[in-house]
Assembly symmetry: C2
Amino acid sequence: MTDATEALKTAIIENYGTPCPVIDLDVVERNIARAQRWCDEAGVANRPHIKTHKSPVLAKMQIAAGAAGITCQKLGEAEVMADAGITDIVIATNLLGAARSGRLASLQNRVALKVCADNPVSLEAYARAASQAGRVMDILIECDTGQKRAGVETPQEALILAQLIKENDWLSFAGLLFYPPLDGWPQTQRFFDAVSAGLAPLGMSAGIVSTGGTPNFPNIGKLKGATEHRAGTCIFNDLMMVEAAVASLDDCAFQVFTSVVSRGGNERGILDAGSKTLTSDTGGLEGFGRLVEHPNARIHKFAEEHGFLDLTRCNDKPRVGDIVRVIPNHVCVAVNMVDQLIAVRENEIVDVIPVAARGMLV
Amino acid sequence: MTDATEALKTAIIENYGTPCPVIDLDVVERNIARAQRWCDEAGVANRPHIKTHKSPVLAKMQIAAGAAGITCQKLGEAEVMADAGITDIVIATNLLGAARSGRLASLQNRVALKVCADNPVSLEAYARAASQAGRVMDILIECDTGQKRAGVETPQEALILAQLIKENDWLSFAGLLFYPPLDGWPQTQRFFDAVSAGLAPLGMSAGIVSTGGTPNFPNIGKLKGATEHRAGTCIFNDLMMVEAAVASLDDCAFQVFTSVVSRGGNERGILDAGSKTLTSDTGGLEGFGRLVEHPNARIHKFAEEHGFLDLTRCNDKPRVGDIVRVIPNHVCVAVNMVDQLIAVRENEIVDVIPVAARGMLV
């Protein structure tokens, strides 16, 4: 390890303690530029999903690099972004709770939102919010082409919703939202073509055709008619993205600096970061993150504030008091645990970035 | 479902949206009284672990019901509790990050803390913090009698640490901290007896002998010489405690009110609560929580903001727009996701309680 890295670790623990979430802004900027380039080359607009970073500061960096707008997953995230002056916002989930609480109407009054639906109940709630706001609401119809997440499962259902939107004075049809399975772009094309064919006789067409996902970057552009792509994780990356072969370990911008606080036995160690820091989300991988300094150490279990290390395969074992850096399996949920990110460049602390939309449930 | 429950659901979504974390204060008070009674009957002091609720309001309810003090897991939690006027605090983890950041010294300067160690590096850090604070620090030695978590694994190691504490002017030996395995109280007794025997010739004895864990309440009092018990989850309870047979479903005071936002197919449904609300912590159980209204529905998977329902075994399936209540597998990590708890009694909203120490990493 370099002296500069050691000096950074000392600066982190003396200023902030451990565990401490840290992002490398040079890597962040490289990641932002790369995602933008991939979208540019595919001829689709880039609309990054801010659920990963939840920070207006970072959203504005994405926009400055060429993003056409942003995607949010919760109304509370959109509120924070709107407060920061960002107004081209897609909210990519059904918002029943936010609609019925009045918060959707309040924000729609300030900003013309693009929201998302896969059922008539949501459309009714959106129309009510739009009428309260006094502003027509743009609606994207979410379509499921195999992920078995949210979204209508057939073109016919999409067309029924399009008809309902057309008939409602407070709603305006804005387009279609897809999250194609990695191997499901051909069926997504068939779904999109069938919906387009059905929209034409209604005098309607999809202004926005959105695809999604960092792991889908290798497929970007394969859907003819797509107008934009929304991806979140690519700004930071994580072990899931490394596993998906869309990022290398060097592209992982987010690390948790954590202290080794105990060595229960020769083959065991304990970190001061557990499920309340990194969450129990394994992302389908083995273990709970990778130690930069000790890649052969295995974080095999979490207590709330402890990470348990299996050091069996470690020759150079960490000692109590060592500060080690963990790359999480799933960065989106880890960032959501913390109120701020310590930003560094070349091992110097340069900024503290609030995770302003952290914990926005609604 | 009663009309009163329906009215509460409407009040929750109209005032706060969904998902929304709700506690029933009547159940909370009953749980607090029961834990206190169990401790009283066993003849040990009650020192509840506030990591579950992270709220000074609720900590003061526990103290008013008879608790002798509180247990924290993080320095940041102790800071919040001290700010609220609570001063009898055990911090039950090695605090290297907090010690090296200066925050431990700052708090020790205000409040005489009891902190915890299982190694000489932590003792050195504590002595330095105590000297900065100008106040001797009380040290509990953490002992592992089979859980393979933190703690020294042999009485001999405990005695070496006791000797180090004795030799350091800034440290004072306060006692021993145990988390006996559920079936490991006999070996905990042997461990304790061996340490006690070794302390006597040093002219030392353990003022505090602490046992821990809500699942250990059936064993409380079995360690002769124990002076206090620290349990966290019992204030709210959860499916893990039901599984451990120390609580019934009626004892679960915390529920997340969530909307059904999509019905992707006849056998599928989607909630607006996912891993960013309830976390991916299964607590070793099957699925991710229990739906009060549809106990045969299975939350089989989480996305960040969605819970995926398998409705195969549900006769009466939830509809889009329904509000359903989820009891989490593990309440401690779920509470740590939210900034406030909506408090109800008899289906009326009576208070909003800040989770003031939420997300205290250090």
